[in-house]
Structures are given as C-alpha cells and as structure tokens.
Symmetry: C2
Subunit: 360 residues, 2 copies
C-alpha cells in the first residue's frame, strides 16, 4: 500500500513513472539489460538522454538559445560552480536572501572570491515573506542577481520574476521547477536539483543561456565547466544515467497529465485547499505572508506545539508521512510537489481536523 508522502525531498514521485521503472528494471526495452547497466555512450542510452532533454525543452518551453545540462552534485554543487563559470574572482554579484538556501548560495559565492551585495535580506522577517517587486535596486555592474524562487524550508515563494535590466538573472528552481508554467526568457540561468519534482537525487539540471558560456575560470572542475559539458552533450564523463532516465519517465507523466498548465492548476488547487483550511482554523497557522506562500512547501504550526511529535507520529500511522517541520522553523511541513494528488491534501486536512478535535 502506498502512502501520502509529504517529504521535502527526496520526495514523492508519480507512481506511473515508478511502475514503468520497476517493470523494466532488469530488462530495459527488451535489451536483456537494466538501464542501470548500459553504457552512457551506447546508442540506446544516448537516445534516452536526448529524449529526456527534448521532453524537458517541450514541457518547459526552453528557447533554442539555452543549453540544457545534466550535472551532478545537486544545487549545492552549483552554488560553487556558478561563480566559477560566470565570474572572475573579485567581481560584484547581487543576491536576494529569502531563506536558508539563499544563505548557502551566498556563502559559497563569497568563498569563490566574489564581492557579494545582499540587496534584499528577509532575515528580518524570519524568512516569512518576499520583497515587494519595487523595493530593491539591482547594481547594473553586478555580474548577476541570484535568488531562490521557492525556499523549501521557509515555504516562501516569489509571485513575480525580479526585474534586473541588463543584469543576468540566475535562479535556484530546485523546489518549484515543473510546478507551474515557467517563462525561461527573463533568466540567464535556471538550475534545480532533481529530487523534488524531477526525480531521484544525484541529478541536477541546469538551463544556461548560450551567451553565458565560455567564461569559466581556470581550474573550474571539468565536470562543472558549462561550456565543456554543453559541447559534450553532458557526457564529458559518465552522467547519472538512472536519474536522466527517470526524469524522462516523469516528464512523460507531466506531459500526459496536460503539461505545466495542468500542473499549475492542480498545484494551485492543492495549495488553496490547505492554506484555506489553515487560515480558517483557530488551531493551525501558517506564518508566511499571503503573497509569498509556496505552492510546494507548506509549513504550519499548531496552537499546542508540545503535540508536534504526536501529530507527526499519528499522521505517519495514518499513512501521511514525513510531516515533521524543519528544525529551524518547528511545527510541521507538508511538501506537496507535483506527484502529491489532491486526495493526499484532503486526507491531510481530514487528519488535521480529527487531531484538533481530539487535542485542540
């Protein structure tokens, strides 16, 4: 029996995709081999990777002047790789700080010798909001502005794309990519660890506009040199083949379900149901500003925080798993990525109602 899994990542995946992966795990396409066992340079896997890229381009709508790279090391790896590829030491960059993933990206940029100007810092709100769209000024000399459109821990999501003029915009989409329609064109670079909406951990997707290539610093690790990786179709070294394969299966599921428009409607309905219930409750609360609430990660508190462990344990027994909040926020967190059906959110709301009735 499958449960409703509210893990922040690695996270619930579409059962349809898992079923396909399971059915062919020892014999892929009647080859007598697992996809785990085939050479990344063989024609079958090269075709598989090309199909995954093609599906991603189609589903997201990635313009032709962007390269798609399949990388390793997660978003955390990119925190170092982005400065190494896009800047020289001493360059100025701008950052928004809207949560703990922003903080990590800022720390790495500094470690790579950049002059980091944090032009928005929402630590002052304890990471419960995003800045107003007209509340910041981007330095026209900055090599780029980096921000985190969705902060997985705080459950804070931008409702708009920051305007940066001529300054390249770089964004960590790890916990929101594929969750709704995305206009790639304002971005110079988008990247995302796969382990939320795209598949297993160990795969990181980067979408890089071509004019950003060719600027890597000497000593940039070969496997993260965007130019070299683009020229090698992401096969400069052995890529994470199973992740690329599984991403392809998940993209087929997204496409068959109606693409990002349909994902957006589905995710909007899930988020509205959960936030609506929480806001109508006197027992549960969500600390995030109304215009900044994440569709993907919903932290919530209960009036009696001493019951948090009981809530998580009883929910787990009821088939609603991984609801413990991040230690820095406390309470509970429901991550409701693409693979979580509305029925899962409804089941959570029913459980919350029952838990309050028994304990509130």
């Amino acid at each position: 029996m499958r449960v409703y899994n509210f893990s922040a990542g690695p996270a619930m995946l579409p059962l349809d995709a898992l079923n396909v992966a399971q059915s062919e795990l020892t014999d892929w396409k009647n080859s007598g081999m697992s996809v785990l066992e085939v050479s990344h340079r063989g024609k079958d896997f090269v075709a598989c990777a090309a199909e995954t890229e093609s599906l991603l381009r189609e589903v997201v709508g990635i313009p032709q002047n962007y390269k798609v790279l399949f990388l390793q090391g997660g978003a955390t790896g990119q925190f170092d790789a982005i400065p190494l590829n896009l800047t020289a030491a001493g360059d100025k960059v701008n950052f928004f700080n809207t949560g703990q993933w922003s903080v990590k990206a800022i720390k790495a940029a500094k470690a790579q010798g950049l002059e980091v100007d944090v032009i928005v810092d929402r630590a002052e709100s304890k990471y419960t909001d995003t800045p107003a769209a007209d509340s910041f000024v981007v330095d026209p000399e900055a090599a780029y502005l980096h921000y985190t459109p969705n902060e997985t821990i705080g459950g804070v999501e931008f409702g708009y794309v920051p305007e940066t003029g001529q300054v390249p915009l770089v964004a960590d989409f790890s916990s929101t990519i594929l969750s709704r329609p995305l206009d790639v064109s304002p971005y110079s670079m988008i990247y995302a660890g796969a382990q939320k909406n795209m598949g297993p951990s160990g795969l990181c997707v980067a979408i890089v506009r071509e004019d950003l290539l060719g600027k890597a610093r000497p000593g940039t690790p070969t496997i993260w040199n965007y130019t070299a990786m683009a020229e090698a179709d992401s096969m400069l070294n052995t890529p994470p083949t199973f992740g690329i394969y599984l991403l392809g299966l998940i993209l087929k599921w997204v496409k068959d379900a109606g693409g990002l428009e349909a994902m957006g409607e589905r995710n909007r309905a899930k988020a509205e149901a959960l936030y609506g219930y929480i806001d109508a409750s006197d027992y549960y609360s969500n600390p995030v500003a109304l215009d900044s609430r994440s569709w993907m990660n919903v932290p919530f508190l209960q009036a009696n925080s001493e019951l948090d462990k009981a809530f998580v344990a009883e929910a787990n027994s009821a088939g609603l798993t991984n609801l413990a909040g991040h230690r820095s926020v406390g309470g509970m967190r429901a991550s409701i990525y693409n693979a979580m059906p509305l029925e899962g959110v409804t089941a959570l709301i029913d459980f919350m109602t029952d838990f309050e009735r028994r304990n509130g």
Copy 2:
C-alpha cells in the same frame, strides 16, 4: 531474457541485487514509499547509508583510521577534488601515466596549479604494460603519488602496490575495486566511480586516511570538501540515495558469495580462461604484457580487423553485448566485472571459436 553484458561501465550488475531493487521499487521495507522517495535525513535512509558503509568496511577491510565518503561527480570529479583537498597550488606531485585515465587525472592536477612530475610514462609502450616495481623513484618532496591500478581502456592492471616511502599514495580504483582482496593500509586515499563493480553511475566512493583531512584549499567546492563531508557523514547535501542503497545490495551479494577472496578466485578463473584462449589462438590476440593484464577489462584483436563490426554485431545477436573496443585501441573489449559469471566468459569463448571457424 538476460544477456551477457560486457560493457566497460556502466556495467553488468548482479541480478540478485537488481531483483531486490525491483521488488521494492515502489514500496521499500513496507514503508509505502520507494527508496527513491524518502528523505536522506530520515531514520530509514540514514540506517541504509550506515549499513552500506559498514558492509563496505567489512567486505574490503577498511581500517578505522580511514573515512568512507559517498560523493558525486565520478572519478573525473575527484581528478579536481584531490588536488583541492590535499595540496596547495604550486605543490609538487608525482604521477604514473599508464593510460587514458591517468592522462585525464594528470591534466586536472595541472589545471589545479600543481607541478606534476610524470615519473612513469607508458605512452611509449602504447599503454600495454605497467612499470617494473623497481624502475621508478618517487620524489620524497611530492605531496602524493597518483596512479591508476587498472586502466579500463588499455586493459592494463598493476600486479603490485607501488612503494612510495613516506609519500602518500592515491589511487583511482574505479574499475578494479571489489574485484579481489585489497590491502588498504599502503594507500592514503582510494577512490572509485561506482559504475563498474559497485552499482550505478552517479556515486563515487572515496576512502581517505584521516591524517589527510583538514588541508582543503579555500574555495574547494563544499560537496567535495573531504573534511566537511566526513563530519556530515556524507550528508552535507542530498547524496545520491539510490546509488548508496544499490551499493548496499551489491555488497550483500559480494559478502554472501564469499567476499573479496571469492571474487578474486572467480575473477582469476574468468581472466585465465579468456587470456588462455586468446594466447592459444592464432586468430585472436591481446597486446598487453603478461604481468600487466587486467582481470576486469580484456581488449582483444582479430587477425582480420575488417570483421570487427561483424564480430560485435553477431555477438550482440547471440546475447553477448557491448563488445566493441574503445576507439583508441580498436578491436574488441570484454569487460568481465564481478557480476559476469564464468558461464558468460565461456559463452564468449565459444562464440569466438565459432566466429573464427566461419571467418578465420
């Protein structure tokens, strides 16, 4: 129907391990979740990773003063990470060059600002042999000696461990780890991409002696900082969870089969059968010196090289897959990692005999 898959990597895996992974791919340990879907910080996965490490320590016999790290980026990533962790720019290092993986490691060390002295260079033999154990002198001032115990492309393997005195010995074991008993103690660091004897691509295992920690250069990417990763039990960021899980299943298979002693006997028998057949043949040949022949990767030529494509295609039809040689060597290559049974080698020999009879 499963085939005999001679791929150099990603490569054939033990069917017993794949069967377990398949059976629980949508419901791991009756959790109602796939292992692909669970948080790396949850107790189930933390226990899984700890068990994998414990099995690796037991099967290989890793002393307590070595850390085991589960990393991303493959051996190629480590070509950059090793200089960043173990040296300062300008330091002297020694390398053996015994093939194309040595060449890549040397190139990266130079890119990281090291003064590289290639104290053994077997390009002169076209990478068909290893140096005599008394034919080189290690610079006592070198930060380390790096070598490749088994060169996957040339099919060249060392029959001894180089003597380096006080100089740390660092080795890329990607294509030979777990293939036979291994004494870790002469090494300061051993690393290996998983995708030959250990599991799927996307996971790289590093075994680092503790006294090498604490020396990373400023700007070393966080996910490759050995000290930080050791302190975080390899979970500084989201690790490649499926790879760690599958490595655990494969280590169980190795252990149940009798451990590295049994693997060594099995691999010796396979190698002796294939090399013995080739050496007795007037039609097939192997270019590698007798004392340097790899137990894992067996390149071979046929007298009429115009028939190479036909050989590979007909073998494929007969259920013997991925036998094309590397483009730099030509001919054919049979990679016969742990998961290849003796029956697969026998089937290959039978096919070679038949092919020669029809074409020789």
